[in-house]
């Protein structure tokens, strides 16, 4: 279908206006909202992730693809909700307390949404109790924590502790990421997973909610 091929290209090329128009056109032709997400947004964002991994795409290109994806999701999201379609998972995401860096976190949030997740983005400098409250209130099964500074990484540990203290640790999987974060650190603080890029974050998220 030409519209959906156009949608895929628009997402990969970071052309939000074409992405929005192609989404509208597809819906008008009777393509189901869920099909648009699973058969077109998801593969397109997987491709964008791959292009970043192999260093063809840089952060600006990712941001533009995320923008196009968001434009498409703006249209599809209310229809998905209305149709009762269940997301792949519900993820609460944020940059931890003390840390204001959010571009990477925003990219992961966009990739997760394009990947079929319902995303509750708490922003940056997020206190542990805000994470636990949001996860409980929105019935999340996944929590994604971001930090860009070694000096704020301890907040990841205190956030995981907060989930334990609130009796919520068993209800969620917790993944961590950000430039200075490592698998070793993730293991040390009892996180369920770690990924080193926005692209691989989606694959990890899928794996964690399926477990």
């Amino acid at each position: 279908m030409p519209d959906l091929e156009q949608l895929k290209q628009a997402l990969i090329e970071g052309n939000w206006k074409t992405a929005a128009a192609a989404t509208q056109a597809a819906l008008a032709e009777g393509v189901a909202p869920l099909t648009i997400v699973t058969k077109h947004l998801v593969p397109a964002m997987d491709e964008v992730g791959r292009l970043f991994e192999c260093e063809e795409y840089f952060v600006p290109e990712m941001l533009l693809s995320a923008r196009a994806m968001k434009a498409s999701m703006e249209i599809v999201r209310p229809l998905l909700a209305a149709s009762g379609a269940e997301p792949v998972g519900r993820v609460v995401i944020g940059t931890v307390k003390g840390d204001l860096h959010d571009i990477g976190k925003n990219l992961v949030a966009a990739m997760l949404e394009g990947g079929g997740f319902e995303v509750i983005d708490l922003g940056a400098d997020v206190a542990p109790e805000l994470f636990t409250e949001a996860a409980a209130a929105r019935n999340a099964n996944l929590v994604a924590l971001s930090a860009l500074l070694t000096v704020t990484m301890p907040s990841m540990r205190t956030t995981i502790d907060a989930f334990r203290a609130a009796g919520l640790r068993e209800k969620v999987k917790i993944m961590v990421g950000g430039a200075p974060v490592t698998q070793q650190y993730a293991d040390a603080i009892g996180a369920d997973g770690y990924s080193d890029s926005a692209g691989s974050a989606v694959a990890l998220a899928r794996k964690l909610v399926a477990a």
Partner: protein, 242 residues
């Protein structure tokens, strides 16, 4: 002692001053501020290359004018000469004079942008070194040229949005600031971004101890030949591994 100091150029004035007052003979080498943008592993590799060029038997110790610096010092291995690294997350801690003071100030002042002599005058106009960096210095015109008017403006907005998220610029003064130009520049940057401005008295004691050969374990980690430095993920910041 005869000491070799490998330091980030951000600490240029502070290190030169400290070395000039040291009782020891210190050979200085400065590395570009841009290493910080490469990410942990590539930065560590570059510093290791520099360490590896140092001849054996000349120095009693190799001093590192760095902190953990986003894991840029993680994995650094001592070859024939011991390595001495301050237990600091980064240079801001070093300029403040202690881990505790930095942690306290950092926790109490979220959304603070830090400036010092080196942060103001060093490493300007760096090219984007890797696809991992954000290219935060790209001017609007360059982004429009590359991505078109609409996407160019959007990217510029994304890259500069941090300006509205930060609340304050803190200028760390160590007493080495000749004339008023650094203060004026820092104050102007704060004003331009709509941030409040604070002058904080820095403390060169930690840097002085580094080049004076005073390395109490609470403030410094020492890697003997064959050992490697590593992030410790605790209050001591760094540790050694066999």
């Amino acid at each position: 002692m005869r000491l070799k100091l490998i330091s980030c150029e951000v600490l240029f004035r502070e290190m030169c001053d400290s070395c000039a007052h040291s009782a020891h003979q210190v050979d200085l080498e400065f590395l570009p501020k841009g290493l910080h943008d490469l990410g942990g592993k590539p930065m560590a590799a570059k510093i290791q290359e520099t360490v590896d060029r140092i001849p054996e038997g000349v120095y009693d110790a190799i001093l590192l004018g760095y902190g953990l610096c986003g894991n840029g010092l993680d994995g650094l291995t001592a070859r024939h000469t011991r390595l001495v690294l301050p237990r600091a997350h980064d240079c801001i801690a070093l300029l403040m004079g202690s881990r505790e003071r930095y942690q306290q100030y950092f926790d109490g002042n979220p959304g603070t942008f830090y400036r010092s002599t080196g942060w103001l005058e060093r490493g300007k106009g760096l090219q984007q070194l890797t696809h991992q960096t954000l290219g935060l210095d790209e001017p609007l015109e360059a982004l429009i040229r590359k991505y078109g008017e609409d996407n160019g403006r959007y990217l510029y907005g994304e890259m500069t949005r941090y300006r509205s998220q930060y609340a304050k610029l803190t200028f760390i003064e160590t007493g080495l600031e000749a004339g008023g130009k650094f203060l004026a520049e820092a104050a102007a940057e704060a004003k331009e971004n709509g941030w409040s401005f604070e002058r904080l008295r820095g403390d060169l004691a930690w840097l002085r101890r580094l080049v004076d050969g005073e390395w109490p374990p609470a403030g410094f980690v020492i890697a003997e030949p064959g050992q490697r430095l590593a992030a410790s993920y605790d209050a001591l910041v760094v540790k050694v591994q066999a």
